[in-house]
């Protein structure tokens, strides 16, 4: 029978995941031989109607990266869901909402005001703001709707597998593709990466002191980072313990702390809250005022802990009414 059809689609994301596909380097040839790419708008001029023309479930697997911010994306995702047997959430944005998800601290109105009015470099005396519908020279132009909240992929459609990572590492992508081709797939809904946290195979783990306590939190640029020593032992916030492993510690090996892009392990409901509990317990103080002083040394707790997973957190966003 003919080669299985594969689709790639790119929703609200930086496009890094699209390139990650190319990152496979020569392996991409093996993939191309094995599959038949039927929809890849970023690389080839596919149109929406091409997909609509396909019979349902005719695409073997479609890799959708990016979170859902616009009505157009919502529509396309639903379309792809209908057309494909397997949907894989490709990358942190699709898997957890990713960095775009941080917009959930604001809503559409405050975002538009910031984007089109208050940013210093914008000159918009007339207050022109993009509208969903506008008539120019008698012709009607439409734009997709801009939702208040960014949603991860599985908050819009049912997702079969997740490929974590802010840009999933080529090895992980390759394993996933091979698994799909050979059909050896884990149960639906699982994340295609080991279910342990980074400390498991991080070389710095053996340098942790017997009783890990932190007197003061420091940002990476405030300290001459010791390339061998565990970041937490140097007072730097590293999400390693609360983040799923599989990325071969490429950030830590570049002497920068882990920011949690692989998301939590299965047993954790909310990566940010869980890490907060863990980190707070290490504070080395018993007196309330002392603890308050140390906690203040963390600049932006929500932003740091929910850097990639705000949409998928328990609350998912800042309360709408609280946004001014």
């Amino acid at each position: 029978m003919s080669k299985p059809k594969v689709a790639f689609y790119w929703c609200a994301s930086c496009g890094g995941c699209e390139e990650a596909v190319v990152d496979l380097a020569e392996n991409i040839l093996k993939v191309v031989e094995a599959v038949d790419i039927v929809f890849w708008p970023v690389a080839l001029d596919f149109k929406k109607k091409d997909v609509e023309a396909m019979p349902d479930k005719s695409i073997a697997v479609s890799f959708i990266n990016g979170s859902v911010r616009l009505s157009e994306q919502e529509e396309m995702v639903h379309l792809l869901r209908r057309k494909s047997q397997l949907v894989v959430a490709f990358g942190s944005c699709a898997h957890l909402g990713g960095v775009p998800g941080l917009a959930n601290f604001w809503n559409k109105e405050t975002i538009f005001r910031r984007a089109y009015f208050t940013t210093p470099s914008t000159v918009n005396p007339d207050g022109v703001v993009p509208q969903e519908k506008v008539v120019i020279e008698g012709k009607e132009l439409t734009l997709p709707a801009f939702y208040d909240t960014v949603r991860a992929l599985d908050q819009v459609i049912e997702v079969d597998y997740y490929l974590p990572g802010c840009a999933p590492p080529p090895k992980l992508v390759m394993d996933a593709v091979l698994a799909i081709l050979e059909g050896k797939l884990p149960p639906k809904g699982s994340v295609l990466s080991p279910n342990k946290s980074l400390c498991d195979d991080c070389d710095r783990n053996k340098t942790k002191p017997e009783k890990l306590t932190i007197k003061e939190f420091k940002r990476p640029w405030q300290v001459m980072l010791d390339p061998e020593k565990c970041f937490l032992a140097q007072g730097i916030i590293c999400m390693g313990p609360a983040t799923r492993t599989g990325c071969e510690e490429r950030c830590i090996k570049a002497n920068m702390p882990c920011r949690g892009c692989f998301g939590p392990t299965d047993q954790v409901y909310d990566q940010g809250a869980k890490f907060l509990s863990a980190l707070a317990s290490l504070i080395d103080a018993k007196d309330e005022k002392e603890i308050e002083k140390i906690v203040q040394t963390i600049d932006d707790p929500a932003g740091t802990f929910y850097r990639f997973s705000l949409p998928k957190s328990i609350l998912g966003r800042r309360k709408m009414e609280a946004i001014k």
């Binding site: 959930n104 601290f105 939702y147 208040d148 909240t149 960014v150 949603r151 599985d154 908050q155 819009v156 049912e158 954790v268 409901y269 909310d270 940010g272 809250a273 869980k274 907060l276 509990s277 980190l279 707070a280 317990s281 504070i283 103080a285 018993k286 309330e288 603890i291 308050e292 906690v295 963390i298 932006d300 707790p301 929500a302 932003g303 802990f305 949409p311 957190s313 328990i314 609350l315 998912g316 966003r317 800042r318 309360k319 709408m320 009414e321 609280a322 946004i323």
Partner: protein
């Protein structure tokens, strides 16, 4: 307990040795306190994970109370200190997520302080009632919403 029909829904995480016993003492001593509070017993205040607090707010709680033994009294020596540290960091994050600091409170209640527990609950309920409902909704999907 009047001012319209809004009755705040509160969740209280009480440590088994001090706060829970204190609440029990208040009960046995017939000290009436606001029924709005729903009590979950944990072995030590150190067991309360920030996920539980977020979960409570997510499920519609308007206020969350965490209560443990006085510092130094903890049956497990240091559990309450850990709760205090997490609370301090948690309230800062809740504010960032639009939940007022007052909606989440940490209070030390020892086994013999039944009256103190009654007073805390009543006062906490009034405070939340003044704050009004949290009703944390948003158009985004949640786990259940497929």
């Amino acid at each position: 307990m009047s001012n319209g029909s809004f009755e705040p829904r509160l969740v209280g995480f009480l440590c088994n040795w001090c706060s829970y016993t204190g609440a029990d003492l208040a009960g046995t001593a017939r000290m009436v306190y606001a029924p709005n509070i729903r009590i979950i017993r944990v072995m030590c205040s150190g067991r309360v994970d920030s996920q539980f607090v977020l979960k409570a707010f997510r499920e519609g709680a308007d206020g969350v109370l965490i209560s443990g033994c006085h510092p130094g009294d903890c049956h497990y020596q240091e559990g309450n200190y850990k709760a205090l540290r997490r609370y301090k960091l948690l309230v800062r994050m809740l504010e960032q997520l639009g939940i007022e600091k007052e909606r989440c409170r940490l209070a030390w209640v020892s086994a013999s302080e039944g009256a103190r527990f009654q007073q805390i609950v009543n006062e906490f309920t009034d405070q939340i009632r003044r704050l009004g409902p949290l009703n944390f909704r948003f158009d985004g999907g949640s786990h259940e919403q497929a």
